[in-house]
């Protein structure tokens, strides 16, 4: 039987999740929508559909992009398919009280209009249970300050694709230091020309080489932060 004839309803849960991984990889939006609905109809919680099928599938897409197997357009198509699934799940997630892990303000720095990586990070972070406020591209330090003041996130995320714009991340961090609020936030940075050494040199808490790593790094830092707050409260 060819894929075109495949009736997703006939698949077991495990087979369907595996098929969703393939469909996400191929950027098949309608198939993802259909499979999402099938899993919900079978009694899956929206959170499980999100994490066990969509996020898991997108993690593989991210890894293959990093390894040079997939190109940007293919990743964007996969992201569009995932977004379509998330569009169905989002209102249900709110109703069913899915776990909220933390919050993040994210934006591309001043002078930089690139947002593909940032958008992927936003989507994956949302998928992992983070509340994400995306302030877009070309952000001067004032925009970051305004957004963190308004939303009080756990994490401030900054993205840059250019060698010429990545130093601006340091400007933002130094401004946080000057204002005495640096330690109020976990600062994560990412973007193609960045690396661990750069992140460390500008005083960021972590460098995230891709969206999946961003999610894992964010979870780790937020858990550590909550533990510290808990320890202080119990002291």
């Amino acid at each position: 039987m060819s894929d075109e004839d495949l009736d997703l309803n006939t698949l077991s849960d495990d087979e369907l999740v595996e098929q969703m991984g393939d469909d996400l990889y191929d950027g098949l939006k309608e198939e993802i929508e259909e499979a999402t609905r099938i899993l919900l109809d079978r009694g899956w919680t929206p959170y499980d559909v999100l994490t066990k099928s969509l996020v898991a599938g997108m993690t593989i897409v991210g890894e293959d992009f990093r390894d040079g197997i997939l190109y940007v357009p293919e990743v964007l198509m996969a992201a569009n398919a995932m977004k379509a699934g998330m569009f169905i799940l989002k209102p249900l997630l709110a109703e069913t009280g899915a776990p909220r892990i933390g919050s993040m303000v994210i934006g591309t720095v001043k002078g930089d209009i690139h947002d593909i990586g940032k958008n992927l990070v936003s989507m994956m972070m949302e998928g992992a249970g983070f509340e994400v406020v995306d302030i877009g591209i070309n952000n001067p330090v004032e925009n970051y300050l305004e957004a963190i003041e308004e939303h009080k996130p756990d994490i401030l995320g900054m993205s840059a694709l250019l060698t010429t714009t990545m130093p601006y991340m340091k400007v933002v961090i130094e401004t946080l230091v000057e204002k005495g609020i640096r330690d109020d936030y976990i600062v994560l940075v990412g973007g193609a020309p960045l690396n661990e050494a750069f992140a460390e040199s500008i005083g960021a808490d972590g460098y995230c080489r891709d969206a999946a790593v961003a999610v894992e790094t964010a979870k780790e830092f937020v858990a550590r932060r909550h533990n510290m707050i808990g320890a202080r409260a119990n002291a």
């Binding site: 040079g68 940007v72 357009p73 198509m77 002078g111 591209i137 750069f198």
Partner: protein, 210 residues
């Protein structure tokens, strides 16, 4: 007299070595020739496609430099790259091995001149740049190299934040201008052409003079 090939594959260990990006090889040769330095320097090129994979550049340069220094430990080595998206990692290699690279962030900048390039970027952030090489090889390097040949419908998702394409021309070549203009049309961007010549590449080549 033809020089003996060195153990590491270099033919002229007595001369300074220039390790360069394949995407500026012909421009570099033109500048070397104009400066009378063609025979004074040995050149070796790394793949131009690394324009799309800058993370490969530091390691590639380091490997070439190490090979060259096997022949002659004190050989002067120059690097025909700017930072080129390596985020300082190429600089770390250069510092570690005492190599000298072209100043600036990338080839657009050293061809246009840093001040002019900054002004261009400032005037319109959403600018996509081509050089002679990129205009000539737009199809394999950009269209196919970025995966648009298989999924052209994703063009606007990838280039939606861009509004213009600036062709920084190193030479007066009507055919390349036509190709650059066609590239702009393909990406649905406004086209502009600026003649730069070889810009600051000339200053760098002067520094190579033994």
């Amino acid at each position: 007299m033809e020089a003996r090939e060195g153990a590491a594959g270099f033919r002229h260990p007595d001369k300074p070595l220039l390790i360069l990006c394949g995407a500026i090889a012909s421009e570099t040769q033109a500048v070397l020739a104009a400066s009378g330095l063609s025979d004074a320097v040995e050149i070796t090129a790394l793949p131009a496609i690394w324009h799309n994979f800058p993370e490969r550049i530091p390691e590639g340069v380091e490997a070439k430099a190490m090979q060259a220094r096997k022949d002659r430990a004190d050989r002067p080595i120059f690097v025909g790259y700017a930072d080129c998206g390596t985020g300082g990692l190429l600089d770390a290699v250069c510092q570690r091995m005492d190599l000298h690279r072209i100043a600036g962030p990338h080839c657009y900048s050293f061809f246009a001149g840093e001040a002019r390039f900054d002004a261009l970027a400032e005037a319109e952030l959403g600018t996509f740049y081509l050089t002679d090489y990129l205009a000539r090889h737009f199809e394999p390097l950009i269209w196919e190299g970025m995966g648009l040949s298989t999924n052209p419908e994703m063009r606007d998702a990838m280039f939606g934040s861009y509004s213009r394409l600036v062709y920084l021309a190193q030479t007066e070549n009507a055919e390349l201008t036509v190709q650059a203009q066609a590239a702009a049309e393909r990406l649905a961007l406004r086209f502009e052409r600026i003649f730069t010549g070889y810009g600051e590449l000339g200053d760098f080549i002067e520094s190579v003079r033994p």
